[in-house]
Amino acid sequence: MSILRRLTPLGFPALIVVLLPMAWVLDDYATKTLTSILVLGLLAASVALLTGVAGLPTLGQTAPYLVGAYTAATLVRHDVSIGVVQLLAAAAAGALFSLVTAPLVVYARGVVVLMITLALGELTMTVAGRWKSVTHGTDGLLAFAAPAPLPGLVTLDTDRATYLYVLTVVAVLVGVMLLVLRSPAGALLRAARDGEARMRASGHPVAGYLTVAYVAAGGLAGAAGSLLVTVERYVSPGAGGFDISALVLLAVVIGGATSLVGALLGAGLVVATRDWIASRDWFGGSMAGHAPLVLGGLFILCVYLLPRGLLGKRTAHE
Protein backbone atom coordinates (compact mmCIF):
# COMPACT_ATOMS: atom_id res chain seq x y z
CA MET A 1 0.00 0.00 0.00
CA SER A 2 1.25 3.46 -0.77
CA ILE A 3 3.03 5.15 2.11
CA LEU A 4 0.73 8.08 1.77
CA ARG A 5 -2.34 5.87 2.16
CA ARG A 6 -0.97 4.70 5.47
CA LEU A 7 -0.59 8.27 6.62
CA THR A 8 -4.08 9.43 5.76
CA PRO A 9 -5.80 7.72 8.69
CA LEU A 10 -4.03 10.31 10.78
CA GLY A 11 -6.77 12.53 9.62
CA PHE A 12 -7.55 15.31 7.30
CA PRO A 13 -7.88 17.71 10.24
CA ALA A 14 -4.30 16.93 11.21
CA LEU A 15 -3.15 17.90 7.76
CA ILE A 16 -4.93 21.23 7.98
CA VAL A 17 -3.52 21.85 11.42
CA VAL A 18 -0.03 21.29 10.05
CA LEU A 19 -0.58 23.48 7.02
CA LEU A 20 -2.13 26.41 8.85
CA PRO A 21 0.95 27.81 10.58
CA MET A 22 2.96 27.49 7.38
CA ALA A 23 1.59 30.88 6.48
CA TRP A 24 3.90 32.37 9.07
CA VAL A 25 6.72 29.87 9.02
CA LEU A 26 7.62 29.82 5.34
CA ASP A 27 9.14 32.51 3.19
CA ASP A 28 7.20 34.12 0.34
CA TYR A 29 8.52 31.81 -2.33
CA ALA A 30 7.72 28.65 -0.41
CA THR A 31 4.32 30.07 0.48
CA LYS A 32 3.54 30.69 -3.15
CA THR A 33 4.65 27.18 -4.06
CA LEU A 34 2.53 25.65 -1.34
CA THR A 35 -0.43 27.71 -2.51
CA SER A 36 -0.03 26.37 -6.05
CA ILE A 37 0.24 22.88 -4.64
CA LEU A 38 -3.05 23.34 -2.81
CA VAL A 39 -4.80 24.51 -5.99
CA LEU A 40 -3.53 21.54 -7.95
CA GLY A 41 -4.32 19.34 -4.97
CA LEU A 42 -7.97 20.36 -5.11
CA LEU A 43 -8.02 19.50 -8.81
CA ALA A 44 -6.34 16.20 -7.98
CA ALA A 45 -9.01 15.53 -5.34
CA SER A 46 -11.66 15.89 -8.03
CA VAL A 47 -9.75 13.39 -10.14
CA ALA A 48 -9.52 11.01 -7.19
CA LEU A 49 -13.25 11.30 -6.61
CA LEU A 50 -13.94 10.15 -10.15
CA THR A 51 -11.09 7.76 -10.69
CA GLY A 52 -10.89 6.03 -7.35
CA VAL A 53 -14.29 6.39 -5.75
CA ALA A 54 -16.60 6.34 -8.75
CA GLY A 55 -14.47 4.12 -10.91
CA LEU A 56 -14.30 6.54 -13.85
CA PRO A 57 -10.63 7.07 -14.70
CA THR A 58 -10.28 10.55 -16.12
CA LEU A 59 -7.71 12.62 -17.94
CA GLY A 60 -10.23 15.37 -18.54
CA GLN A 61 -10.84 17.24 -15.30
CA THR A 62 -8.81 20.10 -16.75
CA ALA A 63 -11.95 20.88 -18.75
CA PRO A 64 -14.20 22.01 -15.86
CA TYR A 65 -11.06 23.49 -14.29
CA LEU A 66 -10.56 25.75 -17.30
CA VAL A 67 -14.26 26.56 -17.44
CA GLY A 68 -14.15 27.61 -13.79
CA ALA A 69 -10.96 29.60 -14.24
CA TYR A 70 -12.27 31.53 -17.22
CA THR A 71 -15.54 32.18 -15.39
CA ALA A 72 -13.67 33.59 -12.42
CA ALA A 73 -11.34 35.64 -14.59
CA THR A 74 -14.26 37.10 -16.50
CA LEU A 75 -15.96 38.07 -13.25
CA VAL A 76 -12.79 39.75 -12.02
CA ARG A 77 -12.58 41.71 -15.23
CA HIS A 78 -16.15 42.82 -14.70
CA ASP A 79 -15.27 44.12 -11.27
CA VAL A 80 -16.80 41.35 -9.24
CA SER A 81 -14.32 41.47 -6.45
CA ILE A 82 -15.68 39.16 -3.79
CA GLY A 83 -13.70 35.94 -3.64
CA VAL A 84 -16.56 33.74 -2.52
CA VAL A 85 -18.75 34.95 -5.37
CA GLN A 86 -16.03 34.13 -7.89
CA LEU A 87 -15.61 30.77 -6.24
CA LEU A 88 -19.27 29.85 -6.29
CA ALA A 89 -19.71 31.02 -9.86
CA ALA A 90 -16.68 29.05 -11.01
CA ALA A 91 -17.82 25.94 -9.17
CA ALA A 92 -21.29 26.28 -10.65
CA ALA A 93 -19.82 26.72 -14.13
CA GLY A 94 -17.63 23.64 -13.70
CA ALA A 95 -20.58 21.64 -12.40
CA LEU A 96 -22.81 22.78 -15.24
CA PHE A 97 -20.16 21.88 -17.79
CA SER A 98 -19.92 18.44 -16.24
CA LEU A 99 -23.69 18.06 -16.19
CA VAL A 100 -23.82 18.74 -19.91
CA THR A 101 -20.95 16.39 -20.76
CA ALA A 102 -22.00 13.66 -18.31
CA PRO A 103 -23.94 11.60 -20.86
CA LEU A 104 -20.75 11.28 -22.88
CA VAL A 105 -18.85 9.82 -19.97
CA VAL A 106 -21.04 7.89 -17.56
CA TYR A 107 -22.12 5.14 -19.90
CA ALA A 108 -18.58 4.12 -20.69
CA ARG A 109 -16.17 2.18 -18.56
CA GLY A 110 -12.47 1.63 -18.12
CA VAL A 111 -10.06 2.83 -20.79
CA VAL A 112 -12.92 4.10 -22.91
CA VAL A 113 -13.60 6.69 -20.21
CA LEU A 114 -9.95 7.67 -20.39
CA MET A 115 -10.33 8.13 -24.14
CA ILE A 116 -13.46 10.22 -23.94
CA THR A 117 -12.31 12.41 -21.07
CA LEU A 118 -8.95 12.98 -22.73
CA ALA A 119 -10.71 14.11 -25.88
CA LEU A 120 -13.01 16.36 -23.83
CA GLY A 121 -10.10 17.96 -22.01
CA GLU A 122 -8.27 18.63 -25.23
CA LEU A 123 -11.36 19.93 -26.97
CA THR A 124 -11.99 22.34 -24.12
CA MET A 125 -8.46 23.61 -24.29
CA THR A 126 -8.86 24.09 -28.04
CA VAL A 127 -12.12 25.99 -27.54
CA ALA A 128 -10.36 28.18 -25.00
CA GLY A 129 -7.72 28.92 -27.58
CA ARG A 130 -10.14 29.71 -30.39
CA TRP A 131 -13.10 31.43 -28.81
CA LYS A 132 -11.32 34.73 -28.96
CA SER A 133 -14.33 36.89 -28.25
CA VAL A 134 -14.72 35.35 -24.81
CA THR A 135 -11.35 33.97 -23.85
CA HIS A 136 -8.98 36.17 -25.84
CA GLY A 137 -7.59 32.99 -27.30
CA THR A 138 -4.03 32.05 -26.56
CA ASP A 139 -3.31 35.49 -25.15
CA GLY A 140 -5.25 34.53 -22.09
CA LEU A 141 -7.22 36.65 -19.68
CA LEU A 142 -5.56 38.93 -17.23
CA ALA A 143 -7.46 39.13 -13.95
CA PHE A 144 -5.31 41.44 -12.01
CA ALA A 145 -7.53 42.73 -9.23
CA ALA A 146 -7.08 40.84 -6.01
CA PRO A 147 -10.36 39.74 -4.48
CA ALA A 148 -11.64 40.20 -0.97
CA PRO A 149 -12.75 36.82 0.29
CA LEU A 150 -15.98 38.06 1.80
CA PRO A 151 -17.67 41.43 1.73
CA GLY A 152 -16.02 43.59 4.31
CA LEU A 153 -12.71 41.73 4.51
CA VAL A 154 -9.49 43.15 3.18
CA THR A 155 -8.30 42.17 -0.26
CA LEU A 156 -5.71 39.42 -0.64
CA ASP A 157 -2.68 41.56 -1.25
CA THR A 158 -0.02 39.39 0.30
CA ASP A 159 1.16 35.88 -0.46
CA ARG A 160 0.30 34.96 3.09
CA ALA A 161 -3.28 36.18 2.81
CA THR A 162 -3.73 34.39 -0.49
CA TYR A 163 -2.33 31.19 0.99
CA LEU A 164 -4.73 31.33 3.94
CA TYR A 165 -7.68 31.95 1.65
CA VAL A 166 -6.76 29.05 -0.61
CA LEU A 167 -6.10 26.80 2.37
CA THR A 168 -9.49 27.64 3.85
CA VAL A 169 -11.33 26.98 0.62
CA VAL A 170 -9.54 23.68 0.01
CA ALA A 171 -10.06 22.61 3.62
CA VAL A 172 -13.77 23.34 3.47
CA LEU A 173 -14.40 21.77 0.07
CA VAL A 174 -12.35 18.62 0.66
CA GLY A 175 -13.73 18.35 4.18
CA VAL A 176 -17.30 18.49 2.91
CA MET A 177 -16.50 15.91 0.25
CA LEU A 178 -14.99 13.59 2.83
CA LEU A 179 -18.08 13.89 4.99
CA VAL A 180 -20.32 13.18 2.03
CA LEU A 181 -18.26 10.14 1.12
CA ARG A 182 -18.67 8.77 4.62
CA SER A 183 -22.42 9.03 4.26
CA PRO A 184 -24.65 6.50 2.49
CA ALA A 185 -23.91 8.41 -0.72
CA GLY A 186 -20.30 7.29 -0.53
CA ALA A 187 -21.32 3.68 0.00
CA LEU A 188 -23.65 3.81 -3.01
CA LEU A 189 -20.84 5.17 -5.17
CA ARG A 190 -18.29 2.63 -4.00
CA ALA A 191 -20.76 -0.18 -4.53
CA ALA A 192 -21.43 1.06 -8.06
CA ARG A 193 -17.68 1.01 -8.69
CA ASP A 194 -17.24 -2.46 -7.20
CA GLY A 195 -20.13 -4.20 -8.86
CA GLU A 196 -22.46 -2.54 -11.27
CA ALA A 197 -24.46 -5.66 -12.12
CA ARG A 198 -25.33 -6.20 -8.48
CA MET A 199 -26.34 -2.56 -8.16
CA ARG A 200 -28.79 -2.95 -11.00
CA ALA A 201 -30.05 -6.20 -9.54
CA SER A 202 -30.78 -4.24 -6.37
CA GLY A 203 -32.66 -1.56 -8.29
CA HIS A 204 -30.11 1.23 -8.11
CA PRO A 205 -29.76 3.74 -10.96
CA VAL A 206 -26.02 3.52 -11.56
CA ALA A 207 -25.84 6.11 -14.32
CA GLY A 208 -27.62 8.58 -12.07
CA TYR A 209 -25.16 8.07 -9.22
CA LEU A 210 -22.17 8.40 -11.55
CA THR A 211 -23.64 11.57 -12.99
CA VAL A 212 -23.93 13.10 -9.53
CA ALA A 213 -20.33 12.18 -8.77
CA TYR A 214 -19.20 13.57 -12.11
CA VAL A 215 -21.04 16.85 -11.56
CA ALA A 216 -19.66 17.16 -8.03
CA ALA A 217 -16.15 16.57 -9.36
CA GLY A 218 -16.80 19.22 -11.98
CA GLY A 219 -17.77 21.65 -9.24
CA LEU A 220 -14.59 20.91 -7.32
CA ALA A 221 -12.48 21.38 -10.43
CA GLY A 222 -14.26 24.62 -11.25
CA ALA A 223 -13.57 25.87 -7.76
CA ALA A 224 -9.91 24.98 -8.22
CA GLY A 225 -10.00 27.05 -11.39
CA SER A 226 -11.22 30.07 -9.47
CA LEU A 227 -8.39 29.61 -6.99
CA LEU A 228 -5.93 29.44 -9.88
CA VAL A 229 -7.09 32.84 -11.02
CA THR A 230 -6.86 34.25 -7.51
CA VAL A 231 -3.29 33.03 -7.21
CA GLU A 232 -1.94 33.65 -10.70
CA ARG A 233 -4.16 36.60 -11.65
CA TYR A 234 -4.19 35.18 -15.14
CA VAL A 235 -5.54 32.26 -17.12
CA SER A 236 -4.68 30.91 -20.55
CA PRO A 237 -5.56 27.71 -22.38
CA GLY A 238 -2.22 26.24 -21.36
CA ALA A 239 -3.45 26.00 -17.80
CA GLY A 240 -5.39 22.94 -18.92
CA GLY A 241 -2.77 21.20 -20.95
CA PHE A 242 -1.62 17.60 -21.04
CA ASP A 243 1.08 18.18 -18.48
CA ILE A 244 -1.43 19.43 -15.91
CA SER A 245 -3.64 16.40 -16.60
CA ALA A 246 -0.59 14.24 -16.16
CA LEU A 247 0.54 15.97 -12.99
CA VAL A 248 -2.85 15.67 -11.39
CA LEU A 249 -3.38 12.04 -12.38
CA LEU A 250 0.10 11.24 -11.18
CA ALA A 251 -0.71 12.87 -7.85
CA VAL A 252 -3.77 10.68 -7.56
CA VAL A 253 -1.86 7.56 -8.49
CA ILE A 254 0.85 8.23 -5.95
CA GLY A 255 -1.57 9.22 -3.25
CA GLY A 256 -3.68 6.13 -3.66
CA ALA A 257 -6.46 6.52 -6.16
CA THR A 258 -9.37 6.31 -3.77
CA SER A 259 -8.12 8.86 -1.27
CA LEU A 260 -8.92 12.56 -1.60
CA VAL A 261 -6.38 13.43 1.06
CA GLY A 262 -3.86 11.20 -0.69
CA ALA A 263 -4.45 13.27 -3.80
CA LEU A 264 -3.51 16.43 -1.89
CA LEU A 265 -0.37 14.82 -0.53
CA GLY A 266 0.41 13.36 -3.93
CA ALA A 267 0.13 16.78 -5.52
CA GLY A 268 2.65 18.10 -3.04
CA LEU A 269 5.02 15.27 -3.73
CA VAL A 270 4.79 15.57 -7.51
CA VAL A 271 5.23 19.34 -7.57
CA ALA A 272 8.09 19.18 -5.09
CA THR A 273 9.81 16.46 -7.09
CA ARG A 274 9.29 18.30 -10.34
CA ASP A 275 10.69 21.51 -8.93
CA TRP A 276 13.59 19.73 -7.27
CA ILE A 277 14.54 18.02 -10.52
CA ALA A 278 14.22 21.31 -12.36
CA SER A 279 16.61 22.95 -9.94
CA ARG A 280 19.29 20.31 -10.35
CA ASP A 281 22.27 20.92 -12.54
CA TRP A 282 21.66 17.80 -14.57
CA PHE A 283 22.21 18.00 -18.29
CA GLY A 284 23.72 21.41 -17.89
CA GLY A 285 20.80 22.80 -15.94
CA SER A 286 18.42 22.32 -18.82
CA MET A 287 15.82 20.34 -16.91
CA ALA A 288 13.94 23.45 -15.88
CA GLY A 289 12.11 23.97 -19.13
CA HIS A 290 11.18 20.35 -19.51
CA ALA A 291 8.21 19.81 -17.24
CA PRO A 292 6.58 17.27 -19.59
CA LEU A 293 9.76 15.23 -19.69
CA VAL A 294 10.04 15.14 -15.91
CA LEU A 295 6.37 14.41 -15.42
CA GLY A 296 6.33 11.76 -18.08
CA GLY A 297 9.37 10.14 -16.53
CA LEU A 298 7.78 10.18 -13.09
CA PHE A 299 4.63 8.78 -14.61
CA ILE A 300 6.48 5.89 -16.19
CA LEU A 301 8.38 5.19 -12.98
CA CYS A 302 5.19 5.16 -10.94
CA VAL A 303 3.38 2.91 -13.35
CA TYR A 304 6.22 0.41 -13.17
CA LEU A 305 6.90 0.65 -9.48
CA LEU A 306 3.47 0.95 -7.90
CA PRO A 307 2.15 -2.56 -7.46
CA ARG A 308 -1.42 -1.79 -6.54
CA GLY A 309 -2.49 -2.19 -10.14
CA LEU A 310 -2.37 1.56 -10.23
CA LEU A 311 -6.01 2.53 -10.21
CA GLY A 312 -6.95 -0.66 -8.48
CA LYS A 313 -7.96 -3.97 -9.93
CA ARG A 314 -11.65 -3.52 -10.14
CA THR A 315 -12.46 -6.66 -12.01
CA ALA A 316 -16.04 -5.67 -12.53
CA HIS A 317 -14.95 -2.82 -14.75
CA GLU A 318 -12.01 -4.31 -16.54
Binding site: P184, A185, A187, L188, R190, A191, R193, D194, G195, A197, R198, M199, R200, A201, S202, G203, H204, P205, V206, G208
Partner: protein, 243 residues
Protein backbone atom coordinates in the same frame (compact mmCIF):
# COMPACT_ATOMS: atom_id res chain seq x y z
CA UNK B 1 -55.07 -14.64 -13.62
CA UNK B 2 -52.99 -14.73 -10.52
CA UNK B 3 -49.74 -15.33 -12.31
CA UNK B 4 -46.89 -13.40 -10.84
CA UNK B 5 -44.72 -14.06 -13.86
CA UNK B 6 -46.00 -14.90 -17.34
CA UNK B 7 -43.45 -15.66 -20.06
CA UNK B 8 -44.80 -16.19 -23.58
CA UNK B 9 -42.93 -17.36 -26.62
CA UNK B 10 -39.66 -16.05 -25.29
CA UNK B 11 -36.68 -16.38 -27.59
CA UNK B 12 -33.13 -15.17 -27.87
CA UNK B 13 -31.15 -15.64 -31.06
CA UNK B 14 -27.53 -14.90 -31.83
CA UNK B 15 -27.40 -14.80 -35.60
CA UNK B 16 -28.44 -18.30 -36.64
CA UNK B 17 -28.08 -19.75 -33.19
CA UNK B 18 -31.16 -19.86 -30.95
CA UNK B 19 -30.09 -19.93 -27.33
CA UNK B 20 -33.77 -19.91 -26.41
CA UNK B 21 -36.75 -20.57 -28.64
CA UNK B 22 -40.47 -20.22 -28.00
CA UNK B 23 -40.45 -20.79 -24.25
CA UNK B 24 -43.56 -20.30 -22.10
CA UNK B 25 -43.44 -20.16 -18.33
CA UNK B 26 -45.86 -19.41 -15.51
CA UNK B 27 -44.96 -18.63 -11.92
CA UNK B 28 -47.63 -17.99 -9.26
CA UNK B 29 -46.99 -16.06 -6.04
CA UNK B 30 -45.09 -18.23 -3.57
CA UNK B 31 -44.25 -20.90 -6.19
CA UNK B 32 -41.14 -23.00 -5.89
CA UNK B 33 -40.07 -23.65 -9.47
CA UNK B 34 -36.96 -25.50 -10.50
CA UNK B 35 -35.39 -24.90 -13.92
CA UNK B 36 -33.11 -27.65 -15.12
CA UNK B 37 -31.62 -29.00 -18.31
CA UNK B 38 -28.30 -30.17 -19.71
CA UNK B 39 -25.51 -27.74 -20.55
CA UNK B 40 -26.45 -25.23 -23.20
CA UNK B 41 -30.15 -25.77 -22.55
CA UNK B 42 -30.75 -22.08 -22.13
CA UNK B 43 -31.46 -21.99 -18.39
CA UNK B 44 -29.17 -19.08 -17.63
CA UNK B 45 -30.34 -17.33 -20.77
CA UNK B 46 -33.93 -17.60 -19.59
CA UNK B 47 -33.01 -16.36 -16.15
CA UNK B 48 -31.11 -13.39 -17.57
CA UNK B 49 -33.99 -12.56 -19.88
CA UNK B 50 -36.41 -12.50 -16.98
CA UNK B 51 -34.00 -10.44 -14.86
CA UNK B 52 -33.42 -8.02 -17.70
CA UNK B 53 -29.69 -8.31 -18.24
CA UNK B 54 -30.45 -9.78 -21.68
CA UNK B 55 -32.99 -8.54 -24.20
CA UNK B 56 -35.14 -11.10 -25.98
CA UNK B 57 -35.36 -11.29 -29.74
CA UNK B 58 -38.88 -12.70 -29.53
CA UNK B 59 -41.66 -13.09 -27.02
CA UNK B 60 -43.01 -11.27 -24.00
CA UNK B 61 -42.50 -11.18 -20.27
CA UNK B 62 -45.19 -9.99 -17.91
CA UNK B 63 -44.67 -9.47 -14.22
CA UNK B 64 -47.67 -8.87 -12.02
CA UNK B 65 -49.74 -8.12 -15.08
CA UNK B 66 -47.29 -5.55 -16.40
CA UNK B 67 -45.24 -5.92 -19.58
CA UNK B 68 -41.61 -5.75 -18.54
CA UNK B 69 -40.08 -7.07 -21.76
CA UNK B 70 -38.34 -3.79 -22.54
CA UNK B 71 -37.60 -2.64 -19.01
CA UNK B 72 -34.06 -2.21 -17.72
CA UNK B 73 -32.83 -4.56 -14.98
CA UNK B 74 -32.87 -1.88 -12.29
CA UNK B 75 -36.52 -1.11 -13.09
CA UNK B 76 -37.47 -4.75 -12.86
CA UNK B 77 -35.65 -5.04 -9.56
CA UNK B 78 -37.67 -2.14 -8.19
CA UNK B 79 -40.86 -3.86 -9.33
CA UNK B 80 -39.95 -6.90 -7.26
CA UNK B 81 -37.74 -9.19 -9.32
CA UNK B 82 -34.64 -10.12 -7.34
CA UNK B 83 -31.76 -12.33 -8.36
CA UNK B 84 -28.43 -13.81 -7.49
CA UNK B 85 -25.59 -14.45 -9.91
CA UNK B 86 -23.67 -17.55 -10.82
CA UNK B 87 -20.47 -15.88 -9.64
CA UNK B 88 -21.55 -14.27 -6.39
CA UNK B 89 -21.75 -10.54 -6.96
CA UNK B 90 -20.86 -8.64 -3.83
CA UNK B 91 -19.24 -5.25 -3.25
CA UNK B 92 -15.74 -6.20 -2.27
CA UNK B 93 -14.57 -2.99 -0.63
CA UNK B 94 -17.59 -2.69 1.67
CA UNK B 95 -18.11 -4.70 4.86
CA UNK B 96 -20.71 -7.48 4.72
CA UNK B 97 -23.27 -5.53 6.73
CA UNK B 98 -22.90 -2.52 4.44
CA UNK B 99 -23.45 -4.76 1.44
CA UNK B 100 -26.84 -5.70 2.85
CA UNK B 101 -27.61 -2.10 3.84
CA UNK B 102 -26.91 -0.77 0.35
CA UNK B 103 -28.93 -3.61 -1.17
CA UNK B 104 -31.79 -2.73 1.17
CA UNK B 105 -31.86 0.89 0.09
CA UNK B 106 -34.17 2.30 -2.50
CA UNK B 107 -32.70 4.42 -5.32
CA UNK B 108 -31.00 7.54 -3.94
CA UNK B 109 -30.64 6.06 -0.51
CA UNK B 110 -33.90 5.88 1.41
CA UNK B 111 -34.89 2.74 3.18
CA UNK B 112 -38.22 1.14 2.49
CA UNK B 113 -41.16 2.18 4.64
CA UNK B 114 -41.19 -0.12 7.62
CA UNK B 115 -37.42 -0.48 7.64
CA UNK B 116 -36.54 3.11 8.25
CA UNK B 117 -36.55 2.78 11.99
CA UNK B 118 -33.96 0.05 12.43
CA UNK B 119 -32.23 -0.69 9.15
CA UNK B 120 -29.08 -2.12 10.72
CA UNK B 121 -31.03 -4.54 12.89
CA UNK B 122 -32.91 -5.75 9.87
CA UNK B 123 -29.66 -6.16 7.93
CA UNK B 124 -28.21 -8.22 10.78
CA UNK B 125 -31.29 -10.40 10.78
CA UNK B 126 -30.89 -10.99 7.08
CA UNK B 127 -27.27 -11.97 7.54
CA UNK B 128 -28.17 -14.32 10.36
CA UNK B 129 -31.00 -15.72 8.26
CA UNK B 130 -28.58 -16.84 5.56
CA UNK B 131 -26.20 -18.27 8.10
CA UNK B 132 -23.62 -15.48 8.16
CA UNK B 133 -22.67 -14.59 11.69
CA UNK B 134 -19.60 -12.88 13.04
CA UNK B 135 -18.54 -11.39 9.70
CA UNK B 136 -20.55 -8.18 9.76
CA UNK B 137 -17.51 -5.95 9.55
CA UNK B 138 -15.45 -8.21 7.32
CA UNK B 139 -14.92 -6.75 3.89
CA UNK B 140 -16.95 -8.71 1.38
CA UNK B 141 -13.83 -9.18 -0.70
CA UNK B 142 -12.27 -11.14 2.13
CA UNK B 143 -15.11 -13.63 2.44
CA UNK B 144 -14.89 -17.17 1.13
CA UNK B 145 -16.76 -18.21 -2.00
CA UNK B 146 -19.49 -19.90 0.02
CA UNK B 147 -19.83 -16.91 2.34
CA UNK B 148 -20.15 -14.58 -0.65
CA UNK B 149 -22.95 -16.75 -1.95
CA UNK B 150 -24.73 -16.45 1.33
CA UNK B 151 -24.12 -12.72 1.38
CA UNK B 152 -25.52 -12.22 -2.09
CA UNK B 153 -28.63 -14.13 -1.12
CA UNK B 154 -29.06 -11.83 1.87
CA UNK B 155 -28.59 -8.86 -0.45
CA UNK B 156 -31.20 -10.18 -2.85
CA UNK B 157 -33.64 -10.71 0.02
CA UNK B 158 -32.93 -7.22 1.32
CA UNK B 159 -34.66 -5.92 -1.77
CA UNK B 160 -37.91 -7.57 -0.60
CA UNK B 161 -38.51 -9.28 -3.92
CA UNK B 162 -41.72 -11.04 -4.84
CA UNK B 163 -39.90 -13.21 -7.35
CA UNK B 164 -36.39 -14.41 -6.62
CA UNK B 165 -34.23 -15.81 -9.41
CA UNK B 166 -31.39 -18.00 -8.16
CA UNK B 167 -28.65 -18.72 -10.69
CA UNK B 168 -26.94 -22.02 -9.85
CA UNK B 169 -26.38 -21.28 -6.16
CA UNK B 170 -24.77 -24.67 -5.60
CA UNK B 171 -22.01 -24.12 -8.15
CA UNK B 172 -18.62 -24.51 -6.57
CA UNK B 173 -19.96 -25.76 -3.24
CA UNK B 174 -18.73 -28.88 -1.47
CA UNK B 175 -21.38 -31.46 -0.41
CA UNK B 176 -21.68 -30.25 3.20
CA UNK B 177 -22.16 -26.72 1.91
CA UNK B 178 -24.86 -27.94 -0.44
CA UNK B 179 -26.67 -29.37 2.59
CA UNK B 180 -26.50 -25.98 4.26
CA UNK B 181 -27.78 -24.36 1.08
CA UNK B 182 -30.68 -26.81 0.90
CA UNK B 183 -31.87 -25.95 4.41
CA UNK B 184 -31.34 -22.28 3.65
CA UNK B 185 -33.53 -22.52 0.58
CA UNK B 186 -36.15 -24.35 2.57
CA UNK B 187 -36.24 -21.52 5.09
CA UNK B 188 -36.85 -18.76 2.53
CA UNK B 189 -40.07 -16.79 3.07
CA UNK B 190 -43.11 -18.47 1.56
CA UNK B 191 -44.34 -15.15 0.23
CA UNK B 192 -41.46 -15.03 -2.23
CA UNK B 193 -41.80 -17.02 -5.45
CA UNK B 194 -38.52 -18.67 -6.28
CA UNK B 195 -37.13 -19.75 -9.63
CA UNK B 196 -34.13 -21.98 -9.03
CA UNK B 197 -31.78 -22.64 -11.93
CA UNK B 198 -29.54 -25.53 -11.02
CA UNK B 199 -27.40 -28.37 -12.25
CA UNK B 200 -27.49 -30.13 -8.89
CA UNK B 201 -30.55 -32.27 -9.46
CA UNK B 202 -30.97 -33.57 -5.90
CA UNK B 203 -31.02 -30.04 -4.61
CA UNK B 204 -33.73 -29.08 -7.07
CA UNK B 205 -35.82 -32.19 -6.47
CA UNK B 206 -35.70 -31.55 -2.74
CA UNK B 207 -36.73 -27.94 -3.10
CA UNK B 208 -39.11 -27.43 -5.99
CA UNK B 209 -42.87 -27.98 -6.22
CA UNK B 210 -42.69 -27.91 -9.99
CA UNK B 211 -39.86 -28.40 -12.43
CA UNK B 212 -39.41 -27.03 -15.92
CA UNK B 213 -36.90 -28.77 -18.16
CA UNK B 214 -35.20 -27.05 -21.09
CA UNK B 215 -33.15 -28.68 -23.81
CA UNK B 216 -31.31 -26.89 -26.61
CA UNK B 217 -33.23 -23.71 -25.96
CA UNK B 218 -36.67 -25.32 -26.03
CA UNK B 219 -39.17 -26.25 -23.39
CA UNK B 220 -39.30 -30.01 -23.01
CA UNK B 221 -41.34 -30.67 -19.87
CA UNK B 222 -43.03 -29.07 -16.90
CA UNK B 223 -44.39 -31.08 -14.03
CA UNK B 224 -44.10 -32.21 -10.44
CA UNK B 225 -40.96 -33.83 -9.13
CA UNK B 226 -42.19 -37.42 -9.55
CA UNK B 227 -43.47 -36.62 -13.04
CA UNK B 228 -40.13 -35.12 -13.98
CA UNK B 229 -38.10 -37.97 -12.61
CA UNK B 230 -40.07 -40.47 -14.59
CA UNK B 231 -40.40 -38.47 -17.79
CA UNK B 232 -38.88 -40.12 -20.86
CA UNK B 233 -38.36 -36.75 -22.57
CA UNK B 234 -36.31 -35.51 -19.65
CA UNK B 235 -34.23 -38.66 -19.60
CA UNK B 236 -33.62 -38.33 -23.31
CA UNK B 237 -32.59 -34.71 -22.92
CA UNK B 238 -29.99 -35.57 -20.35
CA UNK B 239 -28.83 -38.54 -22.40
CA UNK B 240 -27.92 -36.14 -25.14
CA UNK B 241 -30.70 -37.01 -27.55
CA UNK B 242 -31.71 -34.05 -29.70
CA UNK B 243 -35.20 -32.69 -28.90
Amino acid sequence: MSDLLAVDGLGRRYGDLAALDGVDLRVAPGDRLGLIGPNGAGKSTLLNLIAGSLRPTAGRIRFDGRDVTRLAPARRARLGIGRTHQHPAVWASLPALDNVLVAARLPWGRFRAGRRAKPREHARELLAGVGLTGVEQTLAGALSHGQRRQLELAMALAGEPRLLLLDEPAAGLAPPEVEVLASLLASLPLTVAILLVEHHLDLVYGFADRITVLHSGRHVHTGTVPETRSSPEVAAAYAGVAP
